[in-house]
Symmetry: C2
Subunit: 200 residues, 2 copies
DNA sequence: AGCGCTTGATTAGCTCTCTAAGCATTTAGC
DNA sequence: GCTAAATGCTTAGAGAGCTAATCAAGCGCT
Protein backbone atom coordinates (compact mmCIF):
# COMPACT_ATOMS: atom_id res chain seq x y z
CA UNK A 1 0.00 0.00 0.00
CA UNK A 2 1.87 2.98 -1.16
CA UNK A 3 -1.13 5.27 -1.24
CA UNK A 4 -4.33 5.73 0.62
CA UNK A 5 -7.02 4.48 -1.68
CA UNK A 6 -9.44 7.01 -3.15
CA UNK A 7 -12.43 6.92 -0.94
CA UNK A 8 -15.69 6.12 -2.77
CA UNK A 9 -17.93 7.19 0.06
CA UNK A 10 -20.37 10.04 -0.11
CA UNK A 11 -19.65 13.59 0.95
CA UNK A 12 -21.66 13.07 4.09
CA UNK A 13 -19.57 10.16 5.21
CA UNK A 14 -16.52 12.10 4.22
CA UNK A 15 -17.56 14.90 6.46
CA UNK A 16 -17.73 12.49 9.35
CA UNK A 17 -14.40 11.10 8.34
CA UNK A 18 -12.83 14.48 8.44
CA UNK A 19 -14.33 15.29 11.77
CA UNK A 20 -13.37 12.02 13.29
CA UNK A 21 -10.07 11.45 11.61
CA UNK A 22 -8.71 14.67 12.99
CA UNK A 23 -8.72 16.86 9.94
CA UNK A 24 -7.58 19.76 11.99
CA UNK A 25 -4.03 18.74 12.34
CA UNK A 26 -3.56 18.58 8.63
CA UNK A 27 -1.72 21.83 8.44
CA UNK A 28 0.46 20.78 11.33
CA UNK A 29 1.10 17.57 9.47
CA UNK A 30 2.02 19.43 6.33
CA UNK A 31 4.36 21.69 8.24
CA UNK A 32 6.01 18.76 9.89
CA UNK A 33 6.50 16.91 6.64
CA UNK A 34 7.96 19.90 4.87
CA UNK A 35 10.23 20.54 7.79
CA UNK A 36 11.52 17.00 7.68
CA UNK A 37 11.95 17.17 3.93
CA UNK A 38 13.88 20.41 4.04
CA UNK A 39 16.01 19.16 6.85
CA UNK A 40 16.84 15.95 5.05
CA UNK A 41 17.61 17.76 1.83
CA UNK A 42 20.13 19.93 3.62
CA UNK A 43 21.39 17.04 5.67
CA UNK A 44 22.32 14.91 2.69
CA UNK A 45 24.19 17.82 1.18
CA UNK A 46 25.99 18.64 4.39
CA UNK A 47 26.89 15.01 4.94
CA UNK A 48 29.14 15.10 1.90
CA UNK A 49 31.23 17.65 3.77
CA UNK A 50 31.15 15.77 7.05
CA UNK A 51 28.92 18.28 8.75
CA UNK A 52 25.76 17.21 10.51
CA UNK A 53 22.58 19.20 10.46
CA UNK A 54 22.89 19.83 14.17
CA UNK A 55 26.25 21.49 13.64
CA UNK A 56 24.94 23.64 10.85
CA UNK A 57 22.53 25.36 13.20
CA UNK A 58 25.33 26.55 15.42
CA UNK A 59 27.77 27.34 12.66
CA UNK A 60 25.20 29.70 11.15
CA UNK A 61 25.13 31.69 14.34
CA UNK A 62 28.87 31.65 14.86
CA UNK A 63 29.66 32.80 11.35
CA UNK A 64 27.76 35.95 12.17
CA UNK A 65 29.29 36.42 15.58
CA UNK A 66 31.56 34.24 17.65
CA UNK A 67 33.20 34.72 21.01
CA UNK A 68 29.82 34.44 22.71
CA UNK A 69 28.85 32.25 25.64
CA UNK A 70 27.12 28.93 25.32
CA UNK A 71 24.01 30.43 26.80
CA UNK A 72 23.88 33.23 24.25
CA UNK A 73 24.55 30.74 21.51
CA UNK A 74 21.65 28.61 22.69
CA UNK A 75 19.32 31.52 22.52
CA UNK A 76 20.47 32.64 19.12
CA UNK A 77 20.03 29.14 17.83
CA UNK A 78 16.72 28.69 19.60
CA UNK A 79 17.76 25.47 21.30
CA UNK A 80 18.14 24.34 24.86
CA UNK A 81 21.48 24.47 26.58
CA UNK A 82 22.08 20.76 26.84
CA UNK A 83 21.54 20.50 23.10
CA UNK A 84 24.06 23.22 22.55
CA UNK A 85 26.43 21.65 24.98
CA UNK A 86 26.58 18.30 23.26
CA UNK A 87 26.77 19.80 19.79
CA UNK A 88 29.64 22.04 20.84
CA UNK A 89 31.45 19.15 22.43
CA UNK A 90 31.44 17.19 19.21
CA UNK A 91 32.23 20.22 17.08
CA UNK A 92 35.16 20.96 19.30
CA UNK A 93 36.43 17.43 18.74
CA UNK A 94 36.09 17.97 15.01
CA UNK A 95 38.21 21.09 15.31
CA UNK A 96 35.57 23.56 14.15
CA UNK A 97 35.61 25.61 17.32
CA UNK A 98 37.24 26.19 20.67
CA UNK A 99 35.74 26.80 24.07
CA UNK A 100 37.74 29.25 26.10
CA UNK A 101 37.39 30.77 29.53
CA UNK A 102 38.31 34.41 29.64
CA UNK A 103 40.09 35.98 32.62
CA UNK A 104 37.17 38.12 33.75
CA UNK A 105 34.95 35.16 34.53
CA UNK A 106 35.52 31.64 35.65
CA UNK A 107 31.92 30.74 34.99
CA UNK A 108 31.28 31.67 31.40
CA UNK A 109 32.60 29.67 28.50
CA UNK A 110 33.18 31.56 25.28
CA UNK A 111 32.95 29.88 21.93
CA UNK A 112 35.32 30.78 19.11
CA UNK A 113 35.45 29.41 15.61
CA UNK A 114 38.73 27.96 14.44
CA UNK A 115 39.91 28.86 10.94
CA UNK A 116 38.60 25.45 9.86
CA UNK A 117 35.18 26.25 11.24
CA UNK A 118 35.17 29.63 9.61
CA UNK A 119 36.11 28.23 6.24
CA UNK A 120 33.20 25.83 6.19
CA UNK A 121 31.01 28.80 5.50
CA UNK A 122 32.14 29.12 1.90
CA UNK A 123 31.40 25.51 1.20
CA UNK A 124 28.23 25.14 3.20
CA UNK A 125 26.25 28.27 2.57
CA UNK A 126 25.73 27.47 -1.11
CA UNK A 127 24.27 24.13 -0.10
CA UNK A 128 21.58 25.81 1.95
CA UNK A 129 20.92 28.24 -0.86
CA UNK A 130 20.55 25.35 -3.21
CA UNK A 131 18.03 23.57 -1.00
CA UNK A 132 16.07 26.71 -0.70
CA UNK A 133 16.12 27.38 -4.40
CA UNK A 134 14.87 23.88 -5.06
CA UNK A 135 12.15 24.15 -2.45
CA UNK A 136 10.55 27.33 -3.73
CA UNK A 137 11.05 26.60 -7.41
CA UNK A 138 8.01 27.54 -9.43
CA UNK A 139 6.17 29.07 -6.51
CA UNK A 140 4.86 32.59 -6.79
CA UNK A 141 7.07 34.73 -4.52
CA UNK A 142 3.93 36.37 -3.19
CA UNK A 143 2.73 32.97 -1.98
CA UNK A 144 6.04 32.35 -0.30
CA UNK A 145 5.75 35.70 1.41
CA UNK A 146 2.23 34.87 2.56
CA UNK A 147 3.44 31.56 3.86
CA UNK A 148 6.19 33.22 5.81
CA UNK A 149 3.79 35.71 7.31
CA UNK A 150 1.29 33.02 8.18
CA UNK A 151 3.86 30.80 9.84
CA UNK A 152 5.12 33.70 11.87
CA UNK A 153 1.66 34.47 13.17
CA UNK A 154 1.15 30.82 13.98
CA UNK A 155 4.33 30.79 16.02
CA UNK A 156 3.13 33.90 17.82
CA UNK A 157 -0.26 32.36 18.48
CA UNK A 158 1.25 29.25 19.95
CA UNK A 159 3.72 31.22 22.03
CA UNK A 160 0.95 33.37 23.43
CA UNK A 161 -1.13 30.32 24.19
CA UNK A 162 1.72 28.72 26.08
CA UNK A 163 2.41 31.84 28.06
CA UNK A 164 -1.24 31.98 29.08
CA UNK A 165 -1.74 28.37 30.00
CA UNK A 166 1.50 26.81 30.90
CA UNK A 167 4.96 26.72 32.22
CA UNK A 168 6.46 30.21 32.15
CA UNK A 169 9.98 29.02 31.34
CA UNK A 170 8.84 27.47 28.12
CA UNK A 171 6.78 30.49 27.22
CA UNK A 172 9.73 32.81 27.77
CA UNK A 173 11.81 30.60 25.53
CA UNK A 174 9.20 30.72 22.80
CA UNK A 175 9.09 34.45 23.13
CA UNK A 176 12.83 34.79 22.69
CA UNK A 177 12.71 32.49 19.70
CA UNK A 178 10.04 34.71 18.31
CA UNK A 179 11.97 37.90 18.95
CA UNK A 180 14.87 36.52 17.00
CA UNK A 181 12.60 35.58 14.14
CA UNK A 182 10.94 38.96 14.19
CA UNK A 183 14.30 40.58 13.83
CA UNK A 184 15.08 38.44 10.85
CA UNK A 185 11.87 39.47 9.21
CA UNK A 186 12.39 43.11 10.10
CA UNK A 187 15.86 43.15 8.63
CA UNK A 188 14.54 41.37 5.62
CA UNK A 189 12.01 44.09 5.07
CA UNK A 190 14.58 46.82 5.46
CA UNK A 191 16.88 45.33 2.91
CA UNK A 192 14.10 44.43 0.54
CA UNK A 193 14.89 46.58 -2.46
CA UNK A 194 18.48 45.62 -2.72
CA UNK A 195 18.25 41.95 -1.89
CA UNK A 196 15.30 40.62 -3.76
CA UNK A 197 17.44 37.96 -5.32
CA UNK A 198 18.13 36.63 -1.86
CA UNK A 199 14.67 36.74 -0.49
CA UNK A 200 12.93 33.48 -0.10
CA UNK B 1 20.79 38.50 25.74
CA UNK B 2 17.27 37.52 25.08
CA UNK B 3 17.08 39.21 21.70
CA UNK B 4 19.32 39.94 18.82
CA UNK B 5 20.10 43.61 19.11
CA UNK B 6 18.78 45.94 16.44
CA UNK B 7 21.54 46.38 13.99
CA UNK B 8 22.56 50.03 13.50
CA UNK B 9 24.56 49.40 10.34
CA UNK B 10 23.72 50.73 6.94
CA UNK B 11 21.63 48.97 4.33
CA UNK B 12 24.73 48.13 2.41
CA UNK B 13 26.29 46.30 5.28
CA UNK B 14 22.97 44.66 5.90
CA UNK B 15 22.93 43.38 2.40
CA UNK B 16 26.24 41.72 2.99
CA UNK B 17 24.95 40.38 6.26
CA UNK B 18 22.02 38.78 4.56
CA UNK B 19 24.14 37.27 1.87
CA UNK B 20 26.68 35.94 4.24
CA UNK B 21 24.45 34.98 7.10
CA UNK B 22 22.54 32.58 4.92
CA UNK B 23 19.28 34.41 4.48
CA UNK B 24 18.01 31.70 2.24
CA UNK B 25 17.21 29.20 4.85
CA UNK B 26 14.95 31.58 6.67
CA UNK B 27 11.80 29.98 5.44
CA UNK B 28 13.15 26.58 6.38
CA UNK B 29 13.90 28.00 9.77
CA UNK B 30 10.42 29.38 10.13
CA UNK B 31 8.91 26.08 9.10
CA UNK B 32 11.04 24.21 11.58
CA UNK B 33 10.16 26.54 14.42
CA UNK B 34 6.47 26.38 13.73
CA UNK B 35 6.65 22.63 13.50
CA UNK B 36 8.34 22.42 16.85
CA UNK B 37 5.86 24.81 18.38
CA UNK B 38 2.85 22.93 17.10
CA UNK B 39 4.28 19.64 18.18
CA UNK B 40 5.01 20.90 21.65
CA UNK B 41 1.58 22.43 21.98
CA UNK B 42 -0.03 19.11 21.19
CA UNK B 43 2.49 17.23 23.25
CA UNK B 44 1.74 19.10 26.43
CA UNK B 45 -1.96 18.51 25.94
CA UNK B 46 -1.52 14.83 25.19
CA UNK B 47 0.79 14.40 28.16
CA UNK B 48 -2.10 15.09 30.50
CA UNK B 49 -3.71 11.94 29.16
CA UNK B 50 -0.53 9.90 29.28
CA UNK B 51 -0.16 9.76 25.53
CA UNK B 52 3.07 10.73 23.86
CA UNK B 53 3.24 12.59 20.59
CA UNK B 54 4.79 9.57 18.93
CA UNK B 55 1.78 7.47 19.88
CA UNK B 56 -0.64 10.03 18.57
CA UNK B 57 0.71 9.65 15.07
CA UNK B 58 -0.13 5.98 15.00
CA UNK B 59 -3.40 6.24 16.83
CA UNK B 60 -4.61 8.66 14.18
CA UNK B 61 -4.05 6.07 11.52
CA UNK B 62 -5.50 3.20 13.51
CA UNK B 63 -8.67 5.05 14.40
CA UNK B 64 -9.38 5.20 10.70
CA UNK B 65 -8.43 1.61 9.99
CA UNK B 66 -6.87 -1.05 12.13
CA UNK B 67 -6.01 -4.68 11.52
CA UNK B 68 -3.21 -3.63 9.17
CA UNK B 69 0.39 -4.75 9.17
CA UNK B 70 3.22 -2.81 10.71
CA UNK B 71 4.56 -2.09 7.28
CA UNK B 72 1.29 -0.59 6.08
CA UNK B 73 1.01 1.35 9.28
CA UNK B 74 4.47 2.80 8.75
CA UNK B 75 3.56 4.01 5.32
CA UNK B 76 0.28 5.52 6.40
CA UNK B 77 2.05 7.33 9.19
CA UNK B 78 4.95 8.33 6.98
CA UNK B 79 7.56 6.94 9.31
CA UNK B 80 10.22 4.29 9.06
CA UNK B 81 9.56 0.79 10.25
CA UNK B 82 11.88 0.80 13.24
CA UNK B 83 10.15 3.93 14.48
CA UNK B 84 6.82 2.20 14.11
CA UNK B 85 8.13 -0.89 15.75
CA UNK B 86 9.28 0.79 18.91
CA UNK B 87 6.19 2.95 19.18
CA UNK B 88 3.96 -0.11 18.81
CA UNK B 89 5.92 -2.01 21.40
CA UNK B 90 5.37 0.66 23.99
CA UNK B 91 1.74 1.21 22.98
CA UNK B 92 1.15 -2.49 23.33
CA UNK B 93 2.58 -2.36 26.85
CA UNK B 94 0.21 0.49 27.61
CA UNK B 95 -2.68 -1.64 26.43
CA UNK B 96 -3.73 0.56 23.53
CA UNK B 97 -3.28 -2.11 20.90
CA UNK B 98 -2.49 -5.73 20.21
CA UNK B 99 -0.19 -7.32 17.68
CA UNK B 100 -1.60 -10.54 16.31
CA UNK B 101 -0.41 -13.04 13.77
CA UNK B 102 -3.21 -14.34 11.58
CA UNK B 103 -3.34 -17.94 10.39
CA UNK B 104 -2.73 -17.19 6.75
CA UNK B 105 0.73 -15.80 7.37
CA UNK B 106 3.41 -16.43 9.91
CA UNK B 107 5.36 -13.44 8.70
CA UNK B 108 2.99 -10.52 8.93
CA UNK B 109 1.98 -8.94 12.19
CA UNK B 110 -1.41 -7.28 12.28
CA UNK B 111 -2.14 -4.39 14.57
CA UNK B 112 -5.51 -4.06 16.29
CA UNK B 113 -6.71 -1.38 18.65
CA UNK B 114 -7.99 -2.47 22.03
CA UNK B 115 -11.18 -0.82 23.34
CA UNK B 116 -8.92 1.36 25.46
CA UNK B 117 -7.01 2.51 22.40
CA UNK B 118 -10.20 3.17 20.52
CA UNK B 119 -11.65 5.22 23.33
CA UNK B 120 -8.70 7.57 23.42
CA UNK B 121 -10.03 9.09 20.26
CA UNK B 122 -12.85 10.91 21.99
CA UNK B 123 -10.49 12.47 24.47
CA UNK B 124 -7.59 13.19 22.19
CA UNK B 125 -9.10 14.49 19.00
CA UNK B 126 -10.43 17.64 20.64
CA UNK B 127 -6.94 18.40 21.87
CA UNK B 128 -5.60 18.45 18.34
CA UNK B 129 -8.53 20.56 17.25
CA UNK B 130 -7.77 22.97 20.01
CA UNK B 131 -4.13 23.30 19.04
CA UNK B 132 -5.12 23.93 15.52
CA UNK B 133 -7.71 26.48 16.45
CA UNK B 134 -5.16 28.34 18.52
CA UNK B 135 -2.55 28.22 15.78
CA UNK B 136 -4.65 29.74 13.02
CA UNK B 137 -6.52 32.20 15.22
CA UNK B 138 -6.83 35.57 13.56
CA UNK B 139 -5.32 34.45 10.30
CA UNK B 140 -7.22 35.00 7.09
CA UNK B 141 -8.39 31.53 5.95
CA UNK B 142 -7.21 32.41 2.46
CA UNK B 143 -3.70 32.86 3.79
CA UNK B 144 -3.89 29.53 5.52
CA UNK B 145 -5.01 27.95 2.26
CA UNK B 146 -2.13 29.59 0.43
CA UNK B 147 0.27 28.34 3.04
CA UNK B 148 -1.03 24.83 2.69
CA UNK B 149 -0.70 24.96 -1.07
CA UNK B 150 2.78 26.40 -0.87
CA UNK B 151 4.00 23.81 1.59
CA UNK B 152 2.62 21.05 -0.54
CA UNK B 153 4.50 22.28 -3.58
CA UNK B 154 7.64 22.61 -1.51
CA UNK B 155 7.33 19.00 -0.43
CA UNK B 156 6.84 18.01 -4.04
CA UNK B 157 9.85 20.01 -5.14
CA UNK B 158 12.05 18.41 -2.55
CA UNK B 159 10.76 14.94 -3.33
CA UNK B 160 11.45 15.43 -7.01
CA UNK B 161 14.91 16.73 -6.28
CA UNK B 162 15.70 13.71 -4.17
CA UNK B 163 14.43 11.32 -6.78
CA UNK B 164 16.63 12.98 -9.37
CA UNK B 165 19.82 13.19 -7.38
CA UNK B 166 19.86 10.63 -4.71
CA UNK B 167 19.04 7.41 -3.08
CA UNK B 168 15.95 5.88 -4.72
CA UNK B 169 14.66 4.33 -1.48
CA UNK B 170 14.40 7.70 0.17
CA UNK B 171 12.81 9.24 -2.89
CA UNK B 172 10.20 6.51 -3.05
CA UNK B 173 9.41 7.12 0.59
CA UNK B 174 9.00 10.81 -0.02
CA UNK B 175 6.74 10.05 -2.92
CA UNK B 176 4.48 7.84 -0.82
CA UNK B 177 4.38 10.47 1.87
CA UNK B 178 3.35 12.93 -0.79
CA UNK B 179 0.68 10.66 -2.22
CA UNK B 180 -0.89 10.37 1.19
CA UNK B 181 -0.80 14.12 1.63
CA UNK B 182 -2.26 14.68 -1.82
CA UNK B 183 -5.15 12.47 -0.91
CA UNK B 184 -5.78 14.45 2.20
CA UNK B 185 -5.90 17.63 0.22
CA UNK B 186 -8.06 16.05 -2.46
CA UNK B 187 -10.56 14.83 0.07
CA UNK B 188 -10.47 18.18 1.69
CA UNK B 189 -11.39 19.85 -1.56
CA UNK B 190 -14.21 17.43 -2.17
CA UNK B 191 -15.75 18.06 1.17
CA UNK B 192 -15.15 21.77 1.04
CA UNK B 193 -18.65 23.12 1.05
CA UNK B 194 -19.85 21.11 3.96
CA UNK B 195 -16.78 21.26 6.13
CA UNK B 196 -15.55 24.80 6.03
CA UNK B 197 -15.67 24.97 9.76
CA UNK B 198 -13.17 22.15 9.88
CA UNK B 199 -10.81 23.38 7.27
CA UNK B 200 -7.53 24.63 8.48
C1' DA C 1 11.99 -30.11 -4.42
C1' DG C 2 15.34 -26.68 -3.90
C1' DC C 3 17.86 -22.39 -4.65
C1' DG C 4 17.65 -17.64 -4.37
C1' DC C 5 15.26 -13.10 -4.42
C1' DT C 6 11.96 -10.21 -1.94
C1' DT C 7 9.52 -8.64 1.91
C1' DG C 8 8.31 -7.92 6.89
C1' DA C 9 9.83 -7.69 11.48
C1' DT C 10 13.39 -6.92 14.43
C1' DT C 11 17.88 -5.32 16.61
C1' DA C 12 21.58 -2.21 17.16
C1' DG C 13 23.20 2.03 17.29
C1' DC C 14 23.34 6.88 15.86
C1' DT C 15 21.49 11.97 16.00
C1' DC C 16 18.84 15.65 17.72
C1' DT C 17 16.12 17.37 20.98
C1' DC C 18 14.11 17.83 25.40
C1' DT C 19 13.46 17.97 30.87
C1' DA C 20 15.30 17.47 35.37
C1' DA C 21 18.70 17.85 38.35
C1' DG C 22 23.60 18.71 39.65
C1' DC C 23 27.43 21.80 40.62
C1' DA C 24 30.10 26.05 40.36
C1' DT C 25 30.29 30.86 40.20
C1' DT C 26 28.59 35.40 40.41
C1' DT C 27 25.44 38.87 42.17
C1' DA C 28 22.27 40.83 45.56
C1' DG C 29 20.32 41.75 50.01
C1' DC C 30 20.69 42.11 54.59
C1' DG D 1 31.07 40.49 54.68
C1' DC D 2 28.19 36.57 54.31
C1' DT D 3 24.38 33.94 53.16
C1' DA D 4 20.70 33.45 49.49
C1' DA D 5 19.27 33.74 44.96
C1' DA D 6 20.25 33.76 40.22
C1' DT D 7 23.02 32.33 36.38
C1' DG D 8 25.81 29.29 33.48
C1' DC D 9 27.67 24.90 32.52
C1' DT D 10 27.34 20.09 32.83
C1' DT D 11 25.42 15.34 33.50
C1' DA D 12 21.85 11.95 33.18
C1' DG D 13 18.22 10.10 31.03
C1' DA D 14 14.35 10.02 27.96
C1' DG D 15 11.77 10.18 23.43
C1' DA D 16 11.36 10.41 18.46
C1' DG D 17 13.42 9.70 14.41
C1' DC D 18 16.82 7.70 11.25
C1' DT D 19 20.12 4.05 8.70
C1' DA D 20 22.18 -0.33 8.38
C1' DA D 21 22.24 -4.95 9.24
C1' DT D 22 19.99 -9.38 10.58
C1' DC D 23 16.62 -12.96 10.59
C1' DA D 24 12.61 -15.38 9.17
C1' DA D 25 9.01 -16.33 5.98
C1' DG D 26 7.04 -16.40 1.49
C1' DC D 27 7.50 -16.53 -3.55
C1' DG D 28 9.42 -17.64 -8.12
C1' DC D 29 11.78 -20.16 -11.14
C1' DT D 30 13.82 -24.18 -12.93
Amino acid sequence: MSTRKPDPRTADIMLRHWREAVPNDRIAHLIKDSSRGLQRALQTRLAKHNVSFGHWVFLRVLWVRDGITQRELSEEAGLMEPTTFSALTSMEKLGYLERRKLPHSRKNVYVFLTPAGRQLKKKLVPLAEDVNEVAVRGIDPADVATTRRTLLVMIENIARDESEHADPARAARMQRMLDATDNEVAEDTDSKKSTDAFRV
